[in-house]
Amino acid sequence: MIENTAVMAAYGLQKVYGTCKALDGVNMQVRRGDIYGMVGRNGAGKTTLMRMVTGQSEPTGGEMELFGASGKEMRLQRSRTGVMIEIPSFSPFLTAQENLEYYRLQRGIPGKHVVDEVLEQVDLKDTEKKKFKSFSLGMKQRLGLALALMNHPDFLILDEPINGLDPEGVAEFRQILRTLNRERQTTILISSHILSELSNVATRYGFMDKGRILEEISAEALHDKCRTCLRLEVDDAARAAATLQSQLGTDKFEVLPGNVVQLYDCLDDPKRASYALAQNGVALLAMEQKGADLEAYFLELIGGGRHA
């Protein structure tokens, strides 16, 4: 059973298309209040997973829960979500206002003012009589976001939402997500290839590859893992730790298995550390400076080679 704070959870979720396993036993949990960043290269299964959560596709195996509901009960919970998956799709012959009004009526959202409010929120108030078919990609993305926000969702599911947005639009979008998360406690599941942007908003990450979640990690834990450090490979880690404490007066280090010490001090003067260790009879077998951003961490996790 999932924790009662989980907004969405998947257990061994599978999706098979012919002989291709798009999802291969995905286990993940998005907790209430998370901004959950999904990281994975093309074809990793991010969109497939989101399409299942939103009812566009049925899993071949495994289970899903949305707000604690599973099976057919999940459908009713979808009215609490706001969704933008792949390219935003609307009737090309209607304006932004007309498109949103159509969905407002369809979804039974009270108050015609909701449409104007949400258009203002995404800065599309001035499009007036312009039809959707004449919109730029950025405008389409904004309208997609407006639809996702229109019902004041508890859970936002966004697949590549900043594609096509200009830098100003990206900044505004980031601000909208942060505000929603902070003021309305909206939980957000977001995927993006722009990892630097994802790292600006996400509070938790799920790294995905070949239809599997490789790791789920909080932003703090990831930050710690990605901190720049000196990686010291020594013959005696215990003596090395004692030397660092006594000779350098620092406790900013971690002892890892395999006689490895990660030192978060002396980064600007590594010779000091090596000298102190040598003075105290600790053989330094290897030393390297290490540090990673989100992209490097992901590439290391999947075995390197290709970009997310």
Binding site: S57, E58, S91, Y102, Q106, I157
Partner: protein, 259 residues
């Protein structure tokens, strides 16, 4: 469901396609009626009854209009990928399907009312009410057309259900239109020919089945005006097509991946 229908009507009222189609239909009707008026000014006079009674020859056009109204309502939702907006909000696929079918039917009925009223009104204005012997009187013509409509409405609704089914069975307007034309206009003739070429009970069954296709039923209706048994059969056949096509379409939609 009420919200869904309200939304569909909102979209229909904001689509130029809705008005352009109706406009073209009315222009064609106008031309048809003026053809009689033009004819009257040169030779034999065709009265109101004679012109109005020709409507019974146009039952097949009703099935074509079903295809057009279906297209207006469905609005290329596969091509525009807009079905995902409805499914992802938690609307049930049954609700979406029935909502589309109901909206299509309402639009078809609205077109029918406007077009009939326009044509009959135009004939009443442009043509003499009484004509030479051999033509239907105004009253007789209205009775014939009334019977034809009473038999036609359930059959057209069955046709509308076939349009909706085809839209959810195959992606793409062109493909679904071809499928509909095949089901409604070609399959009955094919079965009949196959039945006539076959021998024995199997051939008889095929011929019998071909008689229960909406277009065939409607074409036969004009020769049995006033036959209430046939009228009942038309309603039963219409209801059967509505139920069968809706069941198949719903099944297909529930199995479909939304792209």
């Amino acid at each position: 469901m009420l919200n869904y229908i309200r939304a569909e009507i909102y979209k229909l009222l904001h689509r130029p396609y809705t008005y352009i189609t109706l406009g073209i239909m009315l222009v064609l009707e106008g031309l048809y009626a003026s053809m009689f008026a033009f004819h009257n000014s040169h030779s034999l006079v065709t009265p109101f009854g004679g012109a109005v009674a020709t409507l019974v020859e146009m039952g097949s056009i009703g099935f074509c209009i079903c295809l057009i109204t279906g297209d207006i309502v469905f609005a290329a939702q596969y091509k525009n990928s807009t079905l995902k907006n409805e499914v992802s909000f938690g609307l049930s696929r049954t609700q979406i399907y029935l909502g589309k079918l109901l909206a299509q039917t309402l639009l078809s009925l609205a077109y029918l009312v406007v077009m009939m009223a326009f044509f009959i009104g135009l004939c009443a204005v442009c043509l003499p009410m009484n004509g030479p012997a051999g033509f239907y009187s105004s009253q007789d013509a209205l009775i014939i057309v009334g019977y034809f409509l009473a038999a036609g409405i359930p059959l057209w609704i069955g046709g509308q259900a076939a349009v909706c089914m085809c839209q959810f069975l195959v992606n793409g307007e062109m493909a679904s239109s071809f499928l509909y034309v095949g089901v409604v206009f070609v399959l009955d003739t094919t079965l009949e020919v196959a039945g006539l070429l076959s021998q024995g009970w199997f051939g008889n069954v095929l011929v019998k089945i071909s008689g229960y296709f909406p277009n065939t039923m409607l074409n036969n209706a004009k020769s049995v005006v006033g036959d209430l048994v046939y009228l009942g059969q038309a309603w039963l056949v219409g209801a059967f097509w509505l139920a069968a096509c809706t069941a198949v379409g719903l099944y297909a939609f529930h199995k479909k991946e939304i792209k």
